[in-house]
Amino acid sequence: MFDLELNIRSWSDHLRARGNFKETDLLELENHLRDEIDDLIEAGLSQDESFLIGVKRLGNVNAISEEYSKVNSENLWKHLLIDPDHVYGVSRNRKYIALVIIFSLLAGTLMKIPELFGFKLFNPADQLFYFKNLSLFILPFIAVFFLVKHQSNWKMTASILGIFFLAALTINLFPSYPPKSTELLTGIHLPIFLWLITGAAYMGLEWKLTGRRMDFIRFTGEAVIYGTLIFCGIIVLALFTETIFRAIQIDLSSFIQQYLSVYGGCATAMITVYLVEYKKSVVENFAPILAKLFSPLFLITMIAFLFVMIISGKSPFVDRNFLIGFDLMLVLVLGLVLYVISARDSHDNNKLFDYLNLALILAALIIDGVALSAILFRLSTFGITPNKIAALGENLTLLVNLGGLAWLYLRYLVKKNDFPHLEKWQTAYLSVYVIWMAVVAFAFPIMFRFS
């Protein structure tokens, strides 16, 4: 039996999916179709004949949709510039933009304060100090931005700001003796730890929910992509400024180093956070495509790497730089995999990227296995150092993460469990990272006597 109502609905859904129509436009077109069908039925045609002829007379869906896009295109770009929810949205939006500007200036100024105590940003001797503290100059402001946005209660605000304060206090009070490995390790791990704490501010009171944590992973991925783009823009601006002023014999390089790089860097971070959070419709169209573009490329690189390593017989056991490279690549790949998972469209039945993701995870697992054996080898031959223990811990947490993901992905692909199961496991695993990062940043210096 031909279901007329169902067919009319699916026709209008088909139009709706093109996105060029307003709801009222669709209603108008749908009513036109209904009028036409009524008349045809009255003339003696059956329901399905009338439907087919009606749809045919209305014309080619692509052409109609294109015409509508011309009429409605004004609205399309207005959506990009103006917050959709009216006056309230506009004033709220202004408030956030004001916050972004103020916080960028505050963060930049905070970064200049150590200069009063004799520190110099580009002095090699002070490099470690700035490296260690870099995240403390910017992340608290991002966290406060989210706390303001959520109008968080005092308990949440106090805990998050308390953690930032304690972290700043501890790492700067810790002594440091050559070869300063633990201080460097703190510098590497603290930003990740603090970023996850900032994540708690981002997620607000629902920080325990899988969905919110998935949002945070997604937010992280998009912030990285957009931050990089904006930062490249700032660099181009700086180079351009320096070049044109040099043409009139004015040297701006110290101004650029002293001010533009500091304030520009802080502004990059704040603007990125704002853009990713409030211009979602712009970001969402772009970032997943980039991620999908790069995941096959990473897969090719990793497989090529494994292949060449085996063929050439070169052992990565010898050089410690190899290990750092390994870990960086693994973190990048894991980030990519997680981002693709978080940006996944649950209604999309195309499983190509699921298979690709699984392949990436498996390749990363093998590389991680190689790295682990290299670390164990170095540990047994050269003895224990904080660097090696930290690397061991990192690779173990990554191994468990990748292994778990691979297992759940496989089960998902053979339909043994559903996708939310995988997301739940992954988001729960985030707490392992928080703990490990905190251990390396705060407990390692004590364990290894600040060496």
């Binding site: 108008e28 077109l29 036109h32 209904r34 209305l58 509508y68």
Partner: protein, 112 residues
């Protein structure tokens, strides 16, 4: 007879304005009137009428409002505005001019 696409597109605006001058109407009924008037010779791709209507509304020539029909269906009616009437007069003059020019040439062709 197949009327060329360009001619259909060019004649759409004066036809719509002329029909609306006779009284408010909605999309489907405008299409029916056009068919009637042209003896089923002018066949529009019906979906294309609406973008044209919306553009006319943007140009402030016509105005729309929603009303419930007897069958309970919500319909978007269009009504012609003063600017629309002026535009219709202008188009009428232009078409008359083209028409008279063409008529004269046809006559000459017939005399030869």
């Amino acid at each position: 007879m197949n009327v060329s696409k360009d001619l259909i597109a060019a004649s759409a605006v004066p036809l719509i304005l002329a029909i609306l001058k006779q009284g408010d109407s909605y999309g489907y009924s405008i299409i029916k009137k056009v068919k009637e008037l042209s003896g089923n010779e002018l066949v529009w791709s019906e979906g294309m009428l609406y973008p044209v209507l919306h553009r006319l509304e943007d140009q402030n020539l016509i105005q729309s409002y929603w009303r419930n029909s007897e069958t309970g269906r919500r319909r978007k009616y269009y009504t012609i505005k003063d600017d629309g009437l002026k535009e219709l007069e202008l188009q009428k003059k232009q078409w008359d001019m083209v028409h008279s020019a063409l008529s004269k040439t046809w006559q000459k062709l017939n005399q030869e």
